[in-house]
């Protein structure tokens, strides 16, 4: 799937639900990171009656709402991986069992190190991107969802759905305070992904041999040249 494309015809790669999900998910993550950071390092409101303000309450509310968006979105995206086109599965199953895949990863690394003069063409994700997206985004968000809902379960209370489903991670991480710390660290993991991701897609937009950003907008992979 991530093998070099031999075609010069445009390919419909990202179906509508994938594109919609991508942008909603991106927004949710940004909101989560900003509100999460503020939860750890609250802004100040001084003076007045406590009942006149609900600033921190709103920040947390937005965080939890975005948390739900992230989690439900990911479930939806996973469903689409089952029913969508072949490229919709790439997110969850990088083809690490294929030798050619690793060769592709290696080639991409050389490309990023400016050691080969030309990148290959890819219909779906390039192998390195696929790997990074899986390691950073898929695993990272799963970790954030599990720890996030475990912490959320502490507020909902013992026996709540979140507690029953995810409560077990808290002792596993060394207690509630440590769970907060890990969840907080997870934010940075994802921030780093977002930085690299955005940089790379924009860069690829200019230097690769295929369309990038527009693919996530209209779904079509178009090509800049007709060589294989």
């Amino acid at each position: 799937m991530s093998s070099p494309a031999l075609t010069q015809e445009p390919v419909y790669v990202y179906e509508k639900p994938v594109r919609l999900w991508h942008w909603v998910n991106a927004l949710a993550l940004v909101v989560l990171a900003v509100t999460g950071y503020l939860i750890g390092n609250p802004p100040v409101v001084t003076g007045g009656e406590a009942s006149d303000h609900y600033l921190f309450g709103y920040i947390r509310f937005i965080h939890f709402s975005a948390g739900y968006v992230l989690a439900i979105g990911l479930i939806g995206r996973a469903y689409w991986a089952l029913v969508g086109n072949q490229y919709s599965r790439q997110l969850f199953v990088p083809e690490v069992y294929r030798k050619a895949y690793w060769k592709g990863v290696f080639h991409e690394i050389l490309w990023y190190l400016f050691l080969v003069s030309e990148p290959r063409k890819h219909v779906g994700h390039n192998p390195l991107a696929g790997l990074a997206i899986f390691l950073f985004f898929v695993l990272g968000s799963l970790f954030m969802i599990v720890t996030g809902f475990a912490l959320y379960g502490q507020g909902l209370g013992e026996g709540s759905w979140a507690d029953r489903l995810f409560g077990w991670v808290i002792p596993l991480l060394g207690g509630s305070q440590s769970a907060h710390s890990w969840h907080h660290l997870g934010m940075w993991y994802l921030v780093i992904f977002m930085m690299m991701h955005i940089y790379i897609v924009i860069r690829e937009q200019y230097v690769s041999r295929q369309a990038m950003v527009s693919t996530m907008i209209d779904g079509w992979r178009t090509w800049k040249d007709d060589r294989p």
Binding site: P42, T46, S51, F56, G57
Partner: protein, 362 residues
């Protein structure tokens, strides 16, 4: 003053249960045991004269403040617990006998009440140096603990020492102080954590067991749900300030005098399961947050090793690096940012060259 002998009946009386309902309770018991009404009298008699449940209270490595807390109980008074509700047969801190006479008492209770006494443990056994960091009667405390646990009905692990290890188990835990449930594997262990636990929580747990004749419902960590089911933060009276985003920024600032939320001063109320914000301390006079200091999380496992008591975002140890998440994250994200900028610069440069090259070759 209460009536004696302090049987089950007397205890029930003190709980405000009338003689009539006591008799009703006895006949219910009779029928639930499928005994005829002629047995009710016997049950009444047994209930009225039932011996007080013996308690052996052992001390390992600790600071005795669980005992100190216990004697502060206001309802019931510690005096009434000790004289009327149970029989505190062994407790090195309070007992009259010493030396071999003290050890004899323990033996006798174990023999006479085999399977029926409660083992209360304050502190914990160290396992390094063959256990000789805590020596009782010339032998390692852990031996005595195992011995006394052999025939007990249940174990109460008082305080954070017995429940989690507490201060002596803080890194590097030089004595390998080990919580009770990791040493006593074959008996129910009821953890009543806190450093120390609240006096009235201690007496409530024990009187619950005596009154209802069963062990309290425990959460997944082995703590009675009734007192450890919620966080300090869930019932904290400063919570409206938390939600409003009104925080103390510095000790003794205007916000501190107004009683704003102590979150930014490192309060661990959001991560601590205990009853302080509801039951409060010393007959309800106050609790740490009410008196201006954040919760330090004293009922949580290993709360000593969760970074400073004054930090909100606390230290983590990731692959040997000790720093808080924001420090680790900022440094790494910063490095990635620099990397991206450098990469972008090179890319732009190269791209321009190729573009001009392409143009030239056209």
């Amino acid at each position: 003053m209460s009536t004696y002998p302090d049987s089950f009946y007397a205890v029930m009386r003190r709980q405000g249960i009338s003689r009539r309902s006591f008799l009703k309770y006895c006949s219910l018991t009779a029928s639930s045991l499928a005994l005829g009404p002629q047995f009710v009298g016997n049950i009444v008699h047994a209930m009225e004269t039932k011996p007080r449940t013996p308690v052996l209270w052992l001390h390992g490595l600790e600071c005795t403040c669980c005992s100190e807390s216990f004697i502060r109980s206001a309802h019931p008074l510690a005096k009434d617990v000790v004289l009327s509700m149970l029989s505190l047969d062994y407790d090195d801190t309070l007992m009259a006998a010493a030396g071999f006479q003290a050890e004899e008492v323990m033996e006798e209770t174990m023999r006479k009440y085999k399977g029926r006494y409660i083992l209360a443990v304050e502190g914990n056994p160290p396992l390094n140096e063959d256990g000789m960091y805590c020596i009782v009667g010339g032998k390692p405390f852990v031996e005595k603990l195992r011995y006394a646990a052999k025939d007990c009905a249940a174990v109460i692990a008082w305080g954070s020492c017995a429940s989690w290890g507490c201060v002596q188990a803080a890194k590097p835990n030089p004595t390998r102080a080990t919580p009770v449930h990791k040493v006593i594997l074959d008996k129910p262990v009821i953890k009543v954590p806190g450093c120390p636990p609240i006096a009235e929580v201690m007496t409530a747990v024990i009187t619950y067991m005596l009154t209802f004749d069963k062990l309290p419902d425990l959460d997944s960590q082995g703590r009675p749900k009734m007192f450890y089911g919620q966080r300090i933060h869930d019932k904290c009276y400063r919570r409206p300030h938390f939600d409003a985003g009104q925080f103390v920024e510095q000790w003794d600032d205007e916000a501190a005098r107004k009683g704003y939320c102590l979150y930014k001063m490192g309060c661990k109320g959001p991560t601590t399961y205990n009853a302080c914000s509801t039951v409060k301390w010393n007959d309800g006079v106050s609790f740490p947050i009410q008196s201006g200091h954040g919760c330090i999380g004293c009922s949580e496992e290993a709360f000593w090793d969760k970074g400073s008591f004054y930090d909100r975002v606390t230290e983590l140890n990731v692959f040997g690096v000790e720093a808080n998440a924001d420090k680790m994250g900022l440094v790494t994200a910063g490095a990635v940012g620099v990397g991206i900028a450098a990469h972008a610069a090179v890319s732009i440069n190269k791209h321009k060259k190729t573009e001009t090259h392409k143009k030239d070759s056209l």
